[in-house]
């Protein structure tokens, strides 16, 4: 990768020194785009005719794009590609290569959209593969056994078993959309929730709980059985 500097005119007519990448980033070295995303601010490539990146050369656009690097850095991509270079250093070690072909997916997809005229289409298809490139480190990951209490068009009300030993439950409400993957949504059906949290972010995954959730745990009769035969289990109709 050759990096040089180039003078360009900005919006205010001032000269700006900017680094220029003289390779075709999307076609031949697509993985490096992600690795060096923080450095890549300007592009110069052979297919500029088809894809107008000139606008990106303007400093104001670069500034705007910088705001988004936080989101991009959130993905696995930077780390993943950086360390994949290690394999290149020692390609004689087959065991170091990954156990699956995740790494190939990102560059291949970029290749197929290298001539796209619409950057939106490119990004849309890039993040279709987010499952294979995400590697978020969560502070806490919980699998919570739950049961649907009721639902309407907007919300689903769920009993969540937070502590199996203490029988500690919480009733929580979630947007109905989260449950669209549960085809047989109904009252009293089991749901398994996977909740991941870290400062500033959390994620919920919903799974149909059949075979995973023990519904007997939601059937709390213990306390009432103890009260049987005592006055406390009768209505206070004389008051």
């Amino acid at each position: 990768m050759q990096e040089t500097e180039k003078k360009i005119k900005g919006n205010l007519g001032l000269d700006h020194k900017v680094p220029v990448f003289s390779y075709d980033p999307f076609k031949r070295h697509s993985n490096l785009i992600v690795k060096d995303l923080s450095k890549i601010t300007y592009f110069e490539h052979s297919w500029r005719k088809n894809f107008n990146f000139n606008a990106l050369n303007e400093p104001r656009h670069v500034e705007n794009l910088r705001h988004f690097t936080a989101y991009v850095g959130h993905t696995m991509a930077q780390e993943e590609i950086t360390s994949s270079d290690n394999h290149l250093k020692d390609s004689a070690q087959p065991t170091i290569t990954t156990t699956d072909s995740d790494d190939d997916i990102l560059p291949n997809e970029i290749e197929s959209y290298s001539n796209a005229e619409d950057a939106g289409l490119f990004l849309e298809n890039l993040f279709k593969n987010k499952e294979t490139i995400l590697n978020e480190n969560w502070d806490s990951v919980e699998s919570i056994q739950s049961k649907v209490i009721s639902f309407n068009e907007e919300s689903v009300y769920v009993d969540c078993l937070l502590d199996e030993e203490l029988k500690y439950f919480e009733s929580r409400v979630f947007p109905r959309k989260l449950f669209n993957n549960v085809t047989d949504l109904d009252n009293d059906i089991p749901i398994l929730m996977k909740i991941k949290t870290k400062p500033g972010s959390f994620r919920i995954d919903i799974y149909p709980g059949k075979g995973l959730v023990n519904l007997d745990l939601f059937d709390l009769k213990d306390g009432w059985e103890e009260l049987k035969g005592r006055v406390q289990d009768k209505k206070l109709d004389k008051w």
Binding site: D102, E131, E142
Partner: protein, 234 residues
Amino acid sequence: MINTAFQFEIRFTKILDFSEISRSLLAPFVKLASDVSVDKQNSTEEMTILKFDEDNYLIMVSWDRLVLRGQGEIKTFVKKKSYVEIPFLKILDRIKSIEGFGNIKSFLFATTYVAKLDTSLDNLPKLFKSKIFNDDLEDISSEFSDYAIVMLEKKESGDLTEIRFGPYLNPTDIMNRTIVPLNINRLGDIEFTGVIFEYKNFLKSNEINLDNFSKEEEKSTKIFSDLCKKLRKK
């Protein structure tokens, strides 16, 4: 301190008809997994592998053992309601409910850590020699550039604890260990020099729960932290 790989393996008496019932046994858990594969199909040693790529772990189930292999944030695995409880120990519960199930025999916890030390690659072996060994090592030979220390405790009952550590020279060291990462690319920055540490504990036990895993994780982390402190002490 980076956990490069860990394995929690529960061994039980062999289930002869495991290959016939494994599919229905594991079916509820497939929806949680990102991929499933079956090895040695329709043989007594059939093994089903449930991959959870996004969460950096996998579960292997065969006729005589249930294995959890992961990497990275091991602390998220030790808590209640973690992946160790669901789905791992849930699968164990289902296996225990099989008619032909005998009993749990033992479990194995193994893990590998690496940590950075503020020393150059050239000085790393010297550091280990001065902190762990003594100068008499030179009398044997002064030509070696790498060391490994192995500590073993073997009991009559069959329980075995093994600790290995030595200089961490480069990422190749990680791949030369007994258990390797599922995806080395997801370990973050491992391009440094420091110390590599392997911990293995094999215990006979009939009961397995989250505590077994949590205690082993705590024990291994403490030993490694103490080791790092010793190596970092000026």
